[in-house]
Amino acid sequence: MRVYESEVPGVGRKFELELTGGTSAVVVVHHDGRCELFRRDGPDADGEKILDLKGEQANRLGSILEGAYFESVDVDSLSVPLGEAIIEWVEVGADSPVAGETLGSSKIRTETGASIIAIQRGEETVANPDPETELEPGDLLVAVGTREEQAELAALIEGST
């Protein structure tokens, strides 16, 4: 599958994607993010405009096509609303940078703003853990915080910050 890329002066970039049976998809991405989609059914056919998207819509569509769209309700990550804050469960992976640290030295609270209200360790539940509690791989942290704080916490635990 070949993709041809070319510049359209004053407009942006054009991508041409060869599909099966001589059909090709042509995408024109404007400098301002606007995105136009055309399909052409063969070398002799004329392009037909399918979609004309604003930048944000194009990004959304792109992430769906890429399989990277995560905003839909995910039953695996339960969350309970508490006003602005929500409760979420985050698992400490074996290669997590906080594994082996204590709750205090991991700086979860100071770095992310989220509070760990309980730790589920196998069958055992450590409620209201103190700063000296050591985090182990496999621990399920129960955290309370805003969506942003939760996102930062997940990033910290994962080690992707």
Binding site: V8, P9, V26, V28, H31, D32, D46
Partner: protein, 396 residues
């Protein structure tokens, strides 16, 4: 204080531009002829003649129009892709040369026939040679031709024309602003090329400098620095008699080598849109519609000769890209469209009135060019829209 009414006039101008732009958008047409007609409608020859307060050709409008030219050419340079031109040099070169020889040649002949002198002939040749990138690109998107193979020769030839027009403007502006005799003309052309060599050195060696200049997290400082450099160099060029448009083109090219191309396009496109609209409005503002009507015979002659010339050169340009007859015909139909650059050349002609050009010659060229662009912008867009009817006449 004069500024009280001056601000009102500028307000009237922008309101008119906004209103006709809205109208053009509703009608699905290019706004450029509408901006020009708004200027004509509000100028001293029309509104003034009716005894109403007209928008005067004030300093702000003039400098605004100048900035319009600078930013139009700056973007041309910013998006000018030398690598693309070189990578595809055989096809672009062939199609571009056919386009140049046929259309510049026809223009030169007609100009000489009408005015009997080299400088007016050169100006007419420039006006009829260059197609409108802005209007053609818009039509390509509107009709969906951008997805078809015929868009390649069109965009290729437009890039070729951009390069030719940069050199052309450098020479012609020097000739128009220079003295009448051969020596002073040679001197000003020499200065122009000296300045261009300086700018080329800047383009080749200044990338690191421009990168450092634009390296700021603040979008405010970013845009101010870019505008500052561009307008300063364009102004310096004009002050020594070199085309500000050409200077802006090379400054754009210098910026295009940096990693900030995309940021510049995003940050400066709104400034360009504002001042380009002022430029087109100003074109209309200094146009006496009665002189345009008086030049109707010249306009008609130019249209009748140069529309088929572009159609032909475009068709063979398409052939150079190994396109079939139908697609080649479309290239021809599209290239008929003339616009912004013809008007820039018209403005150059007007600036020579009473100097290197007789006043009447300069005013005739100007009025004819404005009328010509109004006809050709509409004609080109119409031909593209109706291409299906023409394609039926092709032998299958």
């Amino acid at each position: 204080m004069a500024a009280e009414t001056a601000l009102l006039e500028v307000g009237v101008m922008f309101a008119a531009i906004g209103a006709v732009g809205f109208l053009a958008g509703r009608l699905g047409l290019s706004p450029i002829p509408f901006y020009i007609l708004a200027g004509v409608g509000l100028n001293e020859f029309v509104l003034g003649a009716a005894g109403l307060p007209a928008v005067s050709n004030g300093e702000f409008v003039q400098v605004g129009a100048e900035l319009g030219i600078v930013f139009l050419l700056f973007f041309l340079g910013l998006e000018f892709n030398l690598d693309r031109l070189l990578a595809d040099r055989t096809r672009i070169g062939t199609a571009g040369m056919i386009d140049l020889v046929v259309n510049f040649g026809v223009g030169l002949a007609v100009g000489w026939l009408l005015f009997g002198a080299l400088l007016p002939a050169l100006l007419v040749a420039g006006v009829v040679y260059i197609s409108s990138s802005a209007i053609i690109t818009k039509s390509l998107l509107d009709l969906g031709w951008i997805a078809n193979p015929e868009s390649a020769p069109m965009l290729g030839v437009l890039v070729f024309e951009d390069l030719v027009i940069a050199v052309y403007l450098a020479v012609v502006v020097a000739l128009v602003s220079g003295g009448g005799d051969v020596w002073s003309a040679a001197r000003s052309v020499g200065i122009a090329f000296g300045f261009i060599v300086l700018l080329l050195v800047l383009v080749a060696a200044g990338t690191a400098l421009f990168e450092r200049l634009l390296d700021t997290p603040s979008s405010e400082y970013f845009i101010l620095r870019a505008v500052g450099v561009t307008v300063l160099l364009a102004g310096a060029a004009l002050a020594v008699g070199v085309s500000e448009a050409v200077a802006a083109f090379f400054v754009g090219m210098a910026f295009s080598a940096t990693e900030y191309v995309h940021d510049l396009e995003t940050a400066l496109s709104s400034i360009r849109d504002v001042f380009a609209a002022v430029f087109f409005f100003w074109i209309g503002l200094v146009t006496d519609p009665f002189v345009v009507v008086g030049a109707a015979d010249v306009i008609l002659l130019l249209v009748v000769l140069t529309a088929p010339a572009k159609l032909l050169s475009g068709f063979y340009g398409g052939r150079a890209y190994a396109l079939d007859d139908r697609r080649s015909l479309r290239v021809g139909l599209a290239m008929v469209t003339r616009g912004e650059f013809s008007l820039i050349i018209a403005a150059v002609a007007l600036s020579g009135a009473g100097g290197t050009l007789p006043v009447e010659t300069a005013e005739t060229i100007y009025a004819a060019a404005v009328g010509y662009v109004l006809v050709m912008s509409a004609l080109g867009t119409t031909l593209m829209g109706a291409s299906g009817r023409f394609e039926r006449f092709l032998p299958s």
